[in-house]
Symmetry: C2
């Protein structure tokens, strides 16, 4: 029977996503994915080129889901209450933290992969998808005086993203409770509040 | 020959530090440390109680070196030029980023250990040493209006620490060059500048 390339590609990707979300990056292997997809390892490589590409494609699905969650949260605001820049950024931070909580192992796999490939070239198609996430933040910040300076706007969006990421990553997590504690939210709130205040009074 | 407890303890700790700094956390094993120290695994456990404690003691040495580097940088300032809060925080951020670069594998081991023990109880003696690092930042921030609110001061110090950590962690690193690129410094500079401006205009 001839191989259905589209189906095999979709299957391998779905299997990779499931492994990264349940067992983490260390649970991933080309052999395991090929076996579950009912194809040979050689065929898997033919379909994706290399395992980095396969993992990146799975990670992109995760990033896309986060981007959609962020955009949805903002569009809900746009349809109702008027929120200022600070409140919208805090909303995005909540979406991000909630997403990381709900997709803890998958997100950990993504970060572990980023660490593992540090120093290797990141393909443009992957980088572009990451930029989409910064663009959501940049869009909110564009209403502040930063909007007059495109380069600074991008720098600010990346800085805020990484800052919230750093605070969430360093957060203390209890044994039975994976949720962020109040002290972590206080840090995010204070950081975003002071940053926006500083930007608006530039 | 009776075991010299102090020497065996010091040896095991130095060996652990070396392993964490050269091979990373995954290169560490109690068996390896015991063998290199010329003691049995049982004796190693008698000396440290468990491997978490051994690793924490090695990590504390690293944190202490970072604390000393930060305090030294600030005392050099105190002895000469007058720098404002923003400039001193940026100096600390430079010290931090430089330290992470110079101790890349050891720092990666510390972060990997923190991830691995997430959810487990952190002993007070370890937590207290981590607080020392936040205290250096809090001390600089105490000259701003935040100094009037002890709780907010601590929150701000932790937020800034984690923010710079997040920016440094997410930084792009080239293949041949481990140093942070200009865009990363721009992010740190903008974040600290806007934060301090926001705080001072509270």
């Amino acid at each position: 029977m001839a191989l259905d390339h589209d189906k095999a590609t979709a299957d391998a990707l779905a299997i990779t996503e499931r492994i990264l979300a349940s067992d983490g990056l260390e649970g991933f292997s080309a052999r395991k994915v090929a076996r579950e997809a009912g194809i040979s390892v050689g065929t898997l490589y033919n379909l994706f080129g290399d395992t980095d590409t396969l993992i990146r494609q799975a990670n992109i699905r995760l990033l896309d889901r986060l981007a959609i969650a962020g955009a949805t949260a903002l569009s809900e605001i746009a349809g109702g209450e008027m929120l200022d820049v600070r409140a919208r950024l805090l909303k995005l931070a909540h979406v991000y933290a909630g997403f990381v909580e709900e997709n803890r192992t998958a997100w950990g796999s993504l970060l572990a992969f980023n660490r593992a490939i540090a120093g290797r070239d990141t393909p443009d198609w992957y980088r572009a998808r990451q930029e989409t996430l910064f663009a959501i933040i940049a869009d909110v910040l564009s209403e502040t005086p930063l909007g007059r300076d495109r380069e600074k706007l991008v720098t600010a969006a990346r800085a805020l993203w990484s800052s919230v990421h750093g605070i969430v990553t360093n957060a203390y997590r209890g044994v039975d409770d994976n949720r962020l504690d109040q002290s972590t939210w206080d840090q995010i709130d204070l950081l975003v509040t002071m940053f926006v205040r500083g930007v608006e009074r530039a």
